[in-house]
């Protein structure tokens, strides 16, 4: 990471995480908050993307409110088939996160689908993969906290996804 963040970059990252304006000239509105002009906001955002600080600039939607259903799935996968199975799981459009974890349940993924039926259907397909010994469906039953944004100035918090 060659690029060092200056104070303006840090404020820019913080404000564009939380309060990105839905107005005709959003970069101008952001610049007004920071005391810089729209062109500088655009240039800085481009640089922060190129430097690998920003993964994406766009909308984040609520899967639930768009009518989608989601779940977290824990699986025990044979080690000698691990990557073959991991790839087959990652190939699903609705699998957004897929991680190896340090546990007997060694492969964990999230699955989002347009309906409960579709979700069940895909889970049943995956459960049938040879090399998956156990599959546990762990849909959230209750939310105590969901998605806190990082404060670049104080370095506290997390990401929502």
């Amino acid at each position: 990471m060659a690029k060092e963040l200056d104070e303006v970059d840090q404020e820019l990252l913080t404000t564009t995480q939380r309060n990105f304006p839905l107005v005709a000239e959003p970069y101008k509105a952001i610049g007004d908050r920071l005391g810089i002009d729209a062109d500088e906001v655009i240039e800085r955002l481009k640089d922060l993307k190129d430097a690998g600080y920003i993964r994406r600039l766009g909308g984040i939607f609520s899967s639930k409110k768009l009518g989608y259903v989601s779940t977290l799935v824990a699986t025990k996968v044979d080690e000698d088939k691990f990557y073959e199975i991991a790839d087959k799981i990652s190939a699903y459009h609705g699998v957004t996160h897929n991680y190896r974890r340090n546990h007997d349940f060694n492969l964990w993924f999230t699955l989002i689908a347009p309906s409960e039926e579709k979700l069940e259907e895909q889970l049943a397909e995956i459960a049938d993969f040879e090399g998956i010994n156990v599959l546990r469906n762990l849909p959230a039953e209750r939310f105590f906290k969901i998605g806190v944004k990082l404060d670049m100035r104080e370095k506290k918090g997390g990401e929502d996804s």
Binding site: M1, L13, R18, N19, F20, L22, A24, E25, P26, I42, K46, L48, Y53, I54, R55, R56, L57, G58, G59, I60, F61, S62, S63, L66, G67, Y68, V69, L72, A74, S90, H93, T96, N98, Y99, R100, R101, N102, H103, F105, W108, F109, S115, R136, N137, L138, A140, E141, R142, F143, F144, K145, I146, G147, V148, L150, M152, K155, G157, G158, E159
Partner: protein, 160 residues
């Protein structure tokens, strides 16, 4: 569960979930593509936002470049009558971004999940120990992701 969403809103979601153009009038550019006015696009986006369908507009950061190199998913064995209180306690921590209750199985007795962010394994462990002392819940396991095999934002309305 069927959410009300018009065909035009679906098209808007499909555009807005991609990269917002880095130019003076980014919404104008998207509106042109959709064949609507900038004003209509902004009106609809603000409505989607008010309805909670659009959770937020903005940047998503790479954690590893923003001081957060490490996260651990702490899973807790909590008796049903204690889950409410324990979940509330976990939610108060700044280092914790998500707290969920999930179903249990004979081979997976952990009911509460908390996502802890820190700079090291030690940070995550320290938060877990602190919660354990506060809540009296001693049965927990910390799951670290040892390999990222896929991490993407969901693309909606692209299935067919």
């Amino acid at each position: 569960m069927a959410a009300e969403i018009s065909e035009l809103d679906k098209k808007i979601v499909k555009e807005i979930q991609e990269e917002l153009p880095l130019e003076r009038r980014p919404y104008q550019k998207i509106a042109d593509k959709l064949g609507i006015t900038e004003e209509e696009l902004l009106t609809r986006l603000n409505k989607l936002n008010d309805e909670g369908k659009l959770r937020r507009m903005g940047v998503i950061l790479y954690h590893r470049n923003s001081g957060y190199d490490f996260n651990g998913m702490v899973a807790w064995i909590v008796p049903p009558e204690k889950r409410e209180e324990a979940g509330q306690v976990m939610a108060t921590y700044d280092e914790i971004s998500h707290v969920y209750q999930r179903p249990t199985y004979p081979d997976w007795p952990y009911s509460l999940f908390s996502m802890v962010h820190g700079k090291s394994k030690e940070d995550v462990k320290a938060v877990a120990e602190d919660i354990s002392q506060k809540t009296g819940i001693n049965d927990y396991t910390i799951l670290y992701s040892t390999e990222e095999l896929k991490k993407v934002s969901m693309k909606y309305f692209c299935e067919d």
